[in-house]
Assembly symmetry: C2
Homo-oligomer: 416 residues x 2
């Protein structure tokens, strides 16, 4: 990778992202598919490590597969200022969701060094694995393991679409799956975690500003609905003899949308649906579909998910099928650390404060560490799509804002 | 493979199928997934060739990848009696759909030889590729190429789920894709084609008989509906800002069922549906779904498909999406050759005559060659599923019936 790593002095966020613009492209979906522990994600991890080492940072991979790049001039990792994001993507995602935060962290480090503002306090850049949950179904899996928000036995048993377990895949990546799990030492050394991320909505477009400070993350979760019917031949089975789970699933997708519309500010989405066996001339024997539900009030989320469960059972029964709904993950609504947010708002004087509907590692870490987020304007307003975008000037403004934020966090008496 | 090929003299249909019972098992779907030109299907082709060679049959692979095993004592292939079926399967299919016809053909050959009934007239067993259309979307692709029912340029450009073209895949399998296409010489040497197949419905269960003669194949086809909306983030996009093609697709699946119920004897199925990009936390940008439609009256099929097209456009528009419907294949209703059918009915005196809703290579060949089919009882009544089954006694009765049928076809004055 070293030939791709440009001179440190002149690195820009856009320049760094240009180095990885060919990695993990998805010709079928468009954009990028960079699932955790795929060859593309491994290549991105090597790219990050090469950049960290060029900067003289000390690189370590923790028990859960997060990469840490340390500026620790006195050898201590305690009371560290930490920034970073992730490198994995959703299938067919954009170039910025994750990598923008990692590239901005590298450039922010460069800015602080040029300013002579690094000081003696340890600073780390961290890259979390499986933030999107695209491969194993649980978003922010790395930070959930670190904080103990997911049981390591459950994480080890998670499977990808090919039936590989998370334990098998991390072992292939060189980690010992037996060591997955809570990492209180890693958490204890973090004084603060600030994550920069491309905005996933239109807030900064409407306000005509490049960078915002985050207020909160909408509570969100994923539930899997499995509808079981009877597989059979599409040509020889009369319509009246069928127990077709696809019909029930189709009606459920539409019903879920209607149910979500019944709760102000709720979002419910079915973006993934898998009929089994999935042949054109075969009535499916089973359909699995995943429901993503989000609402600022977690009790509303609970009510909405229960409505989805009842609808699934009812619609399945009408087709002679059975339905079960299982929670795969749930993250309550997160209000970021108020003191830290106030420091950032005071430092970045023209940055508005915005909430987000998207989950992040900073949200999962929030109960263990004071966390904050910065958002950078996305002129398309579109996310989890190849259309996601960040202008060059906004990307550089984001990195400078991140440097300012980290600097403010490091100042005595600023609450970090 | 030769160690798996048991002594020729004692081969039974069940014994032959037991030799391949571990090839292409699908642990996720259950049953077997043996797509054309997969390693599993190649292993099955080698197994067949080994059995043909053990019997002293002369093996050739034609320009479209069909395997022919010839008993041609005088060196001529003209005026041949031909039987056979296919070895590829639907995803998660049963053990009998295809392989039963191939194994029965080998045993029928053994029966004729033991009877001293082979004679001088050429007899061939043929294995057609991609009968199910599970990999490249067009059923009976081998026989369609042979007869010219599909343009070879279109066939070469067909893609599988991984984006491989049919041309690339047949080249990897050792065929020259430039040679794909009509094969009038192969057709001209066939005097008759008799295909034995597991029954895909309940006709023989209800009649309590082991073997039937086919009357007709229901007209059938496949249409692909593509609904395009706007991909976006499942958390940050308000319900009112969405153009979600999954909602339109879900409503369409249910509507298609209702439309099919409006035409007596019609069947319409959506067994395959693919959201793009297919992430849990992503509103799909596009959904592709495939509609399998069948009806004895081809004009009703045309009307029903047009209703599906109109429904797709309307439901998509209601979600701010666009829909297009494209025909991928269509086979009109086939009445098998009446003279040949009468010969078989006279020969197999206790065999009822049954229609079928399933497509077969014998249906595609029907306009070029007199064709007939035999069906063997399936006690589950279920097809394209691991539940498909044939009892040992019925399988052997089927092979003997096939031998009798081939023998009758070879007799002068019997219309073959």
């Amino acid at each position: 990778m070293s030939d791709k790593v440009a001179a440190v002095e002149g690195d820009t966020v856009s320049g760094l992202l240009a180095e990885i613009e060919d990695i993990g492209r998805d010709p079928q979906r468009g954009g990028y598919s960079r699932p955790v522990h795929s060859s593309a994600e491994h290549e991105l991890r090597e790219w990050f490590i090469a950049h960290a080492e060029k900067r003289g940072l000390e690189v370590e991979v923790d028990r859960n597969g997060a990469i840490w790049a340390w500026h620790a001039p006195d050898g201590s990792h305690d009371d560290a200022i930490v920034t970073g994001s992730h490198l994995d993507s959703v299938p067919g995602g954009g170039a910025f969701d994750g990598p923008l935060g990692v590239a901005s962290a590298l450039v922010a480090f460069d800015v602080l060094r040029r300013r002579g503002a690094l000081g003696r306090r340890p600073l780390a850049i961290v890259v979390f694995p499986e933030e999107e949950g695209s491969r194993f179904g649980v978003a922010c899996l790395g930070s959930r393991l670190m904080t103990g928000a997911i049981d390591p036995d459950r994480a080890r048993a998670l499977t990808d679409a090919d039936g590989n377990t998370f334990a098998e895949i991390v072992a292939r990546g060189g980690l010992d799956p037996a060591h997955l799990g809570p990492d209180p030492e890693a958490l204890a050394r973090m004084a603060v975690f600030v994550e920069l991320h491309v905005e996933q909505g239109r807030g900064l477009i409407d306000l005509d500003r490049p960078v915002a400070v985050a207020s909160s993350i909408l509570g969100h979760g994923r539930w899997r609905v499995t509808i079981a019917g009877e597989g059979n031949h599409a040509g020889t089975t009369l319509m009246c003899d069928r127990r077709d789970p696809m019909v029930a699933a189709g009606r459920l997708v539409s019903r879920i949308r209607d149910l979500a519309r019944g709760h102000s500010a709720a979002r419910a989405t079915v973006g993934r649906l898998v009929p089994t066996p999935g042949g054109t001339n075969v009535i499916a024997s089973r359909v699995d579909l995943w429901v993503d539900v989000r609402h600022p009030d977690d009790t509303v989320t609970t009510v909405l998910v229960e409505q989805v469960r009842q609808a699934a059972i009812l619609l399945a029964a009408e087709e002679g099928c059975d339905a079960v709904l299982v929670e795969e993950s749930f993250s309550p609504t997160v209000d970021f650390d108020a003191g830290l947010r106030d420091v950032l708002v005071a430092t970045l004087s023209d940055a508005p404060v915005l909430g987000t509907g998207a989950g992040h590692d900073a949200g999962v870490l929030k109960d263990s560490v004071p966390t904050a987020m910065l958002f950078v304007r996305n002129p398309s307003g579109v996310s989890h799509s190849p259309s996601e975008h960040v202008e060059v000037d906004d990307a550089e403004a984001g990195a400078v804002a991140l440097a300012d934020a980290l600097s403010a966090c490091g100042r005595p008496g600023r609450g970090c």
